[in-house]
Every structure is written in C-alpha cells, then in structure tokens.
C-alpha cells in the first residue's frame, strides 16, 4: 500500500545507536558496602559530566533559572522560523504525581503568560502508559501543530515515536526524561539524577558518624530518573565507606515507609543516616524516627513544602537537592524561540539548585499547600498563588 505513513518507514532506524547501557560501570562496585551491583543505568561519563555541571556557572538571567543554561552549545533553528501565533502541542507522560501536577500547572501558566504568541495549546495525557503516549504522539502529528513538546514516559521505548515526530518536520522539544536520539531540536532538563543523588548522599555521609549505618529509601525500581539518583548515591556511599544497611522500596506510600523505617530502627538500634531518591515520603520517614523516640539522623529530602516545613520546625540536619519543576516553563520558551528562528542550546541544561540550611527560609512558604514544590519558579506567573493551591 502506498499509504505507509512516514511513521512506519522511519521506525526502521529507531533502534539504539546510543544505548544507555553501553557505558562502563567498573569503579562503582566497591565490595562490602551492601549496596550491591551497580545499576545498568550507571554511565560513568554521564556521571562525571553531571557532577562537573554542579559547579558550573550558568549563563542567562540570574533571576530566571528556567532560562539559564549550563555550558550552552547553541544550535541553529532558522529552518523552523514561522510567523505566529502558534499552535503548540504537548504529549505528557502522566499527571499522576504532585511533581508533575505542579510542573504542568507551571507550564499552563507559562502558556497563559505567552498567550499573545500561542494560538492554541493542545495537551494529551498518556496516563503513564508508553503505548498510549506513542499513539498520542502519532495522533498529534495529524493535528497541524507548529511545535511538539514531549515529556517521555520512558526513555528507550518512546525513542521511535519521537524520531517519527522529528521526521514529520516540526520542531520537537523533549524535556524531563530524554530519548535515545539526537533528532529533537533540544532536550531540556536540569543537571539530572546523578547530581541529585550525589548531593544528598554526600551530605548524609559527611554529616553522619564515619562508618555509620545508612538506610536508603527508594520509590520503586526501574524508573530511569530514580535509578541514576541511586547509582550516584551508591558511588558516594561506597567512597565514604559507610554501611548501607538497607535499600528499600516504598512505592511512595508513607505508611509503608514508616513501617520500614520502624523495623530498621528496631533491627539496628540506631540509623545514622537517611537517604532517599525522592522527597515524597521524607516527612513520613522523619515521623517514624519521632514516633520511635529516636533523633532524626542527617538526611535528604526534596523541595516539597511539607518537608521544608518539618525541617525548619524540628531543626533537622538536612538537605534538599531538587529536580526543579521550573523546567516545565522552559519547553514553552524554547519552542517559541525555535519558532522565531532564534538559536537555542542543545542540550539545554538547567541549573539544579540545592536547598540547604542557609537558604531554607527563602523557599519555605507557609501559605502554599504541603505537597507544593518550592522550586517551581512560578511566583511571577499569572494566577500565582491560586493556581497552585
């Protein structure tokens, strides 16, 4: 049949020219630390690059981290130049957790802020299903979008669909998780999981007593963003020679978290350090220590307000590396710049600030809901704060 869509033809080349597993992971598996083998997600070069970025100075307006870029490498976008207003389409992986909710609201607010330049904003939610997102992207290609933003549900599995979108000729902007292809005009994300995991683990291992017992709490296995966080933490812990007594999955369920922490406290008497790959259950973990009548050990959380609040109230020894939700603003900005024919950086690495004891007060806003993310960069957007409440 002649009607073979471009989609189908292109799929041929979909497969892995740069597989994530390709990198070596040799140095990571220091013995005797109980952290086990290094994840196949661990790529030494990426790890090194991300850690280097932590200290890099961003370019761009200082008060707008979502427009800043670390180590920019500009690409030409003249061929996408088009007169506005534009129809921008967004294939979203899911809206099923507070992080994505806050992010998406931020993105919507950004769209509203740019209303004069955007005629239509089409959003399709894949509900966390790879299969649906592939179909969604295909569907969007038939809708006459001027630019396509994709937040992939899974890196590897969405690659063919994104490649097909690139071939369709419209500018594609990918953010949050990446894809295994260079075809999008730009890929926007903060420094990433290694940076997150490293910052938390380094803090915990420095503040706790040497060789003490660390409990690592993870949400669930197999999510690339979270896997990289853990693999970086593992490197840090192994290097610091602390005793990682447990790596447990909480499913993001606070009740399960409390039970696990409770049992570990019982089993080991004391836990000297607490690391987690996401902040969702940080408060529950703190409460578990409180309820057991134990001091809360040095720990990390994330920039969710409930954690920042308990941190301040209970005067914890804590740190909050972030995976800023302000990155949801950037794709809109990038898409409009591309459609203007302006150069953008690819990759577009956003800074990834860390909340520490020193700047805690700056981010803590008692008026926002407990699961709001402080690093939303949304205070200047239309509808703040009501939209996020």
């Amino acid at each position: 049949m002649a009607a073979l869509a471009a989609v189908t033809l292109l799929a041929l080349t979909a497969c892995a020219t740069d597989e994530p597993a390709a990198g070596p992971s040799g140095s990571a598996s220091a013995a005797g630390s109980g952290t086990g083998e290094q994840s196949k997600f661990f790529v030494q070069a990426d790890y090194d690059a991300e850690l280097a970025l932590l200290d890099a100075a961003p370019t761009g307006p200082a008060d707008k981290p979502w427009e800043q870029v670390l180590n920019p490498t500009m690409v030409d976008t003249a061929k996408f130049k088009k007169s506005g207003p534009h129809k921008i389409c967004f294939s979203n992986a899911a809206l099923n957790n507070p992080w994505r909710q806050v992010g998406f609201k931020t993105m919507q607010a950004e769209v509203e802020a740019q209303r004069s330049r955007i005629s239509e904003f089409v959003h399709v939610d894949a509900e966390g299903k790879d299969q649906k997102q592939i179909a969604d992207i295909n569907d969007l290609l038939g809708k006459g979008c001027d630019a396509l933003i994709v937040s992939p549900n899974t890196t590897a599995t969405l690659t063919p669909a994104v490649e097909a979108a690139c071939k369709a000729g419209l500018p594609v902007v990918v953010f949050d998780r990446g894809v295994n292809t260079k075809c999008p005009v730009t890929f926007i994300n903060p420094i990433g999981g290694y940076g997150f995991g490293h910052v938390g683990a380094e803090f915990v291992s420095q503040r706790m007593k040497p060789g003490g017992k660390v409990l690592a709490l993870r949400i669930l296995p197999g999510v690339d963003v979270l896997e990289t966080r853990w693999s970086a933490a593992k490197v840090a812990f192994d290097k610091a020679k602390v005793d990682v007594v447990g790596v447990e999955f909480t499913d993001g369920d606070p009740a399960k978290t409390k039970k696990i922490v409770d049992d570990y406290i019982q089993r080991y008497g004391t836990i000297d350090g607490l690391w987690m790959d996401a902040g969702a259950v940080a408060v529950a973990a703190v409460e578990a220590f409180q309820d057991a009548g134990k001091p809360v050990p040095p720990m990390n959380g994330e920039d969710q307000l409930d954690f920042l609040k308990i941190w301040k109230d209970k005067n914890l020894t804590a740190i909050a590396p972030t995976y800023p939700t302000y990155q949801w603003r950037t794709p809109i900005i990038a898409a409009l710049r591309i459609l203007d024919g302006q150069q953008v950086s690819n990759p577009w690495k956003l800074p990834q600030p860390t909340i520490t004891q020193d700047n805690l007060d700056q981010y803590l806003d008692a008026n926002m809901p407990p699961l709001h993310y402080a690093m939303c960069g949304c205070t200047d957007l239309p509808g703040y704060p009501q939209r996020w409440k």
Partner: protein, 324 residues
C-alpha cells in the same frame, strides 16, 4: 410452553456495538463542534493501535472468563513477554522467530502454572493469578531496572508500525486472533467444553468433559494472548519494558472490556466478538476525550461509570429474558 419460546435463540447484536456506534457518532459530533476532526487518519491509527494492545489481552481474558475463571496476572505476563522477546532479538532480525517462540513459550508456561493452580490445587482463580502475578512482579522488579533488549528493526517496522490504509497490521492481527478464538469457541470441542465448564462445571464434568484440562488450556491460551500483546508492545516500543503491562492496567482493563462486551463474569455466556467491541468502545472513549483534551481523571470517572452501566444493562436484559 408456547411455540414462540421454542424458536432457536437468536443472538442479538451485542449491545456493545450499539454503544460503540453511539459513542463514535456523538464523539464525532462533539469533536466537530469543538473544532476538531475525530476520524482523521492519525487519530484512527492511534485508536486502532491502542485497541490492538488491549485487544489481544482481552480476547485471551475472554477465554478464561468464559470458563468461569479469571486471570489477574496478564499485566505481568505482558511485561515479561516484551523483555523475553526484545532481549532474545537484541536488535537482530535473524532472531525474530526464536524470540517470538521463546516469549510465547514463557507465557504459555505461566498460563500452565495458573491453570494448574486453579484446577489441581483448587486455588480460587482470583488468588491464584494474583499470587502468580506477585511472583512475576518480584522477578521483574529485581531483575530489571528499566527497558532492556532491542526489538528487531524488521519487527518494529512490520508489527509495530506497518499499516494498510488507516488500519495497523497489529489490528489486523487482532482481527485474525479474534477470528481464531471465535472459531475455537464455536467450532471446536475445546470451545464447547470451555463454555460448558463456565456454565456449570458439574454438568460438564458429569458429561465427560475433562474440566481441568479445558481450564488449563484456557489459561494457557489466555497467557499466550498476553504474550502476543507483549510481543506487539515490544515491537511498538522498540525494546522490552518491565512495567508496560502494569502501567497500562492491562489486567483490570481487559476484564472491563470483556464484561462490557457482554461476557458474564461468572462464565458460560458471551464471546470474543463482544470483547473486541468492548475494547473498541474503551479506545474510542479514549480517542474522543483525547480530542477534547478532557482531564484524564474525569475520563477515569466516566470509564468506571460506563463499566457499571454496561453490566447493569446486560443484567437487566438477562433478567427480562429469564422472565419471558
């Protein structure tokens, strides 16, 4: 007994197709008013792709439900099958046949385990397949931390993306599988026996049907269908994905599609054609709501209501039939 009631039972058009037609008609209209177009090529292709994935699973699920059983492990079987297939192929076109064979064999093995637990050890199907699902979940969680393997490019190109006009190859495969299942149900002893076991296990047993064997076969076929769905998804995704089955809620959605399609949850009544109707209905609702950019959560509410309403309608109809 009046003569009228002795007429051979005509199978009415399954209500699900009426609902499907209505949904598409209303959806088309609403989308049109909204300024969109429901039946353009890309939307249709997407709809049929979504339907194909769920369809394979739901057809298999129909078989076990007809037999009075249930399979809650399908979601994990799908994930496992994508991994087995993609890892065996590892991007190699030459390995397609062994990979598909191995994926199906592994799936069939799980189906066999399900079947044996349900029949030989007399574990309630709900618990048995839930338990097997947990076993698989443990394996997947501990063995894989993300997508693995690479599907052969040829398979991606054909099963994953090839289409004839607006109809994807995978949907044609679904039609073929449905046809085979329909044929098996109406024209083979296995099919007759399966419906009998679901209708009344004791009657079937006393009529010389080997209930256990029939149910085990149904479970194996169900898992095979799930395995096939896995192979399709592997070719769609380009690699094996350890959580694609659970993320897609294929276990509960397949059961929903089956009952929306008019198959009695208790077994003994229904068929695969209705199931495909149910799958298309769910996919159409997805498509319409996608076009209208309706909140996914609202869609979920609607979906829940539709499942209940559909079954209530069937129950009412059955009640009226019994009263006449």
């Amino acid at each position: 007994m009046s003569a009228r009631s002795l007429l051979p039972a005509r199978r009415p058009v399954p209500g699900v197709f009426v609902a499907l037609a209505l949904t598409l008609a209303i959806g088309w209209l609403v989308v049109l008013v909204d300024g969109g177009q429901l039946f353009n090529q890309s939307t249709t292709v997407s709809l049929l792709h979504v339907a194909a994935g769920l369809g394979f699973v739901a057809v298999g699920q129909t078989l076990v439900i007809l037999g009075g059983s249930l399979d809650l492990s399908v979601a994990y079987v799908i994930s496992l099958s994508t991994l087995v297939a993609a890892e065996t192929m590892n991007g190699n076109d030459g390995a397609v046949v062994p990979a598909i064979g191995l994926a199906l064999a592994v799936s069939a093995g799980i189906g066999l385990l399900n079947g044996l637990l349900v029949t030989k050890l007399r574990v309630n199907a709900f618990i048995a397949t839930l338990g097997v699902g947990l076993l698989l979940k443990g394996y997947l969680d501990s063995g894989y931390d993300g997508p693995a393997g690479t599907t052969s490019p040829t398979l991606v190109q054909t099963l994953g993306y090839q289409r004839v006009g607006p109809v994807p190859l995978s949907f044609l495969l679904l039609v073929a599988v449905t046809g085979m299942a329909w044929f098996a149900l109406s024209r083979t002893r296995f099919g007759h026996h399966l419906v009998a076991v679901g209708g009344d296990a004791e009657v079937a047993r006393l009529s010389g049907v080997r209930n256990d064997r029939v149910l085990v076969t149904a479970h194996v076929l169900c898992s095979l269908c799930a395995g096939l769905a896995g192979i399709y998804l592997a070719s769609r995704l380009g690699s094996g994905a350890p959580r694609v089955g659970t993320e897609g809620l294929y276990d509960l959605e397949s059961i929903a599609a089956v009952v929306i399609g008019g198959t009695a949850l208790a077994g003994g009544r229904g068929g695969v054609v209705g199931t495909v109707g149910g799958v298309l209905l769910l996919a159409s609702i997805d498509a319409v709501f996608n076009q209208l950019d309706v909140d996914a959560f609202f869609k979920q509410v609607i979906r829940g209501a539709i499942i209940i309403a559909a079954v209530a309608v069937y129950a009412r109809r059955a009640l009226r039939k019994a009263a006449s």
